[in-house]
Amino acid sequence: MSDTILSIKDLSIQYVSREIGTCRAVNNVSLDIQKGENLGLVGETGAGKTTIALGILRLTPKPQGRVTSGTVEFWGEDLYKKSEAEMRKIRGEKISMIFQDPMTALNPIDPVGDQISEMIWLHEKITKKEAAAKAANMLEMVGIPAARYKEYPHQFSGGMKQRVVIAMALACSPELLIADEPTTALDVTIQAQVLDMMNGLKKELGTSLLLITHDLGVVAEMCDKVAIIYAGEIVEVGTTRHIFKDTRHPYTKGLFGSLPDMNSHSKRLKPIHGLMPDPANLPQGCKFAPRCEFCTERCTKQEQELTAVSPDGHLVRCWRAVEEEGGV
């Protein structure tokens, strides 16, 4: 498929620390993103979402983090075979990232405008002055007056800082934007504004989006395709319609059960009981088995592969869901 902008195959990332042991944060994850497509990556805190994002950019924290298997192909070229210098050209210019916490993502001692122009100046062959002018434009674009170019992060509120971070990420018109919980740290009203703005800018620039979130509402609004991740593994992947209307995996169902629903009259939420397994000590078999109400003998022994349950790309990692479909 020539339109595949990013293709992650079999990616595994571990964190090794002397005290805790080996954390298997990401396990054999495969994902494709097409040009112009919005892919949502959904999971609980600690499921390995951010680690995947950092893995794509080869920014896995050193020295504890290491990529143990897999490839990340960008337009068919393996990013892990590139030199550091080539990688630097890709970061920011081709693939850029919006980080989770706008409070800490900006350098406190640099004016926000300079932080944006740093990005532009690094990737475009223009003078610093031109870069500054472009950065001022970017600020205006995200709704911050260019007059505030010289101001410092501490002079901005959280929502404004997130706008700065977004302006920075979009400054070089990247082909792929990775947005890691771009709205989690924000108030609900600001959330909507920011999402709206991202959508607008995305359309304008033709960027593909990998949206990392634990908020299914945001996914419904923004994404074409969704991948549900649990304990470092993808458990269900499909179009937004598949996931929302034809939910297969018990975990995904659980996620929806944890949401209050205005339309139904059921009296209580159905939370998923228990906790996600410790990534340093993952259970054998299906990772979700200890919390699953349908768990069988087989689930605790052996894990199902990601298996298609419909011809148009709906995949599930669950024995029961696949059997219901009559497959295997």
């Binding site: 228990g274 906790l275 397994p277 410790d278 259970p283 054998q284 088995a289 200890p290 919390r291 768990c295 605790t300």
Partner: protein, 295 residues
Amino acid sequence: MKTAEQQDTAIHEIKKRSMTGEVLSRLVRNKGAVIGFIIILIVVVACVLAPVIAPYHYDDQDISRKFLEPCADFIMGTDNLGRDIFSRLLYGGRISLQVGFIATGISALFGITLGAISGYYGGKIDNVIMRVLDIFMAIPNLLLAIAISASLGTGIASAMIAVGVSSIPQFARIVRGPILSVKGQEYIEAATAIDASDMRIIFRHLLPNVLSPIIVQITLGVANSIIAAASLSFLGLGVQPPQPEWGAMLSASRVYIVDHSYMVTFPGLAIALLVISLNLFGDGLRDAMDPRLKD
């Protein structure tokens, strides 16, 4: 579901282990801290048992055997008056340890009290206490210790007070900051609401929050006090000959540095060894008590 059960028991066990146990187990895993602790223990025991262990009395002079290089009878040699340096070091260690611990005790007692009062009451009281401490902080530490010991005259007690008083501000500072920030939290308000007395709030609710920095500061404070006291006697203040304080021994022997360098080597080594072990232990303690601070 066996795995879930296992997980539950694991969580249960983690909860059961007390905070102290957790700190201790981390401390024991830190090699530096363990080595430091063992050396401190050996030094303390050796110094306490000095009258038993020491082959000679610390003031046992005999000019006929002066300036003997280290040998079987005098493992660290003898000094200009023929006194056994090893014995003098053992007795001297008693003084250094005493000064170190008591001086730190003085600064901890006053510093913690002042810092707690300052942080808890705030306002005018805080202002007055902090301004007074500012004055003390404007004088470099050693200079302050020198000035105080100059006015108190020579002697062990004078050295203890001089060194102790000069580090009061450090303790006050580490206590005041956290108390100031904890004070506004709900559980303190709750304690005030049920009419707990100020003393009870300070001791039961506020000070425990600063316990780990205080303990660490005390360990490192003992190390610093030992060096400061040695510096004082090195300058001819504080502990005086013939008392075998380590700094005083160094000071007295530096005249002979050219021909009898061992006289300078051993007292210095003694100070360095004791202080290194205190610092190793203090560092280990800090890492164990607050893993976040660990690099």
